[in-house]
Symmetry: C2
Subunit: 143 residues, 2 copies
Amino acid sequence: MKDLKDGPQSLTRGECLDLMGTAKVGRVVFTEQALPAVMPVGFVLDGGDVVVCVPPASGLAAATGGAIVAFEADDLGTTGPAGWTVTVVGRARAVRDPGDHARRALDAWISGPSPEFIRISSQRVTGRRVGPSPTGERHKAAA
Amino acid sequence: MKDLKDGPQSLTRGECLDLMGTAKVGRVVFTEQALPAVMPVGFVLDGGDVVVCVPPASGLAAATGGAIVAFEADDLGTTGPAGWTVTVVGRARAVRDPGDHARRALDAWISGPSPEFIRISSQRVTGRRVGPSPTGERHKAAA
């Protein structure tokens, strides 16, 4: 099957990580009780990994521990297609100590005395520009 | 397992749909080649269903046809946790004619002469406020 992220507006891995590094909020995508599930979280890039702060009492760390998850961040137009989206796919593991850099960057998201974090390896990084294709004219549908 | 969406900041189904109706962009969460996948799309609520405009040449309709998918929309703080997130889980089906209301609302997202849409039934609707719990003081982690 064609990869959904391929196309004329695809971004390189470097472009993807540069854009993702400008965002503060993303979404962990995983499987919960055999159903697709998604949770928005604060995050930071750290050495090529995505480090997210686990919402207190969410059970997110337990639900994703050791699993392959996706993590998506974007910056999109609010009324029409404009901007970018980047998705990282990799294995998630719960950590108590995310490293000094990540802890400082995630400070606003930390609740409670024993915060939990998830580190997601960036095994696969894909992204694309969202909006009219630079290689083709945008056609309006017939009214 | 505890439902990740339960908690003191959970929203009712009616609150979820009201909030989701204020957003224009959301994310379809599905499985692609046995891996979690996510794609941002324009959407509109229509009779309790979520109707999304399929990005041209994305293969999204084929990847999700007949499958149970999740669809998430949110409005979150850009620097810390503040706002809401709502997720609909239900069966996706590709449609050519989304209905007049949905077509008008999705006009900005329509590319090409034969646009495709996905209609997602709102079999399960969950959501929560994101931010400090109203029932407990927010504790800062020790520096």
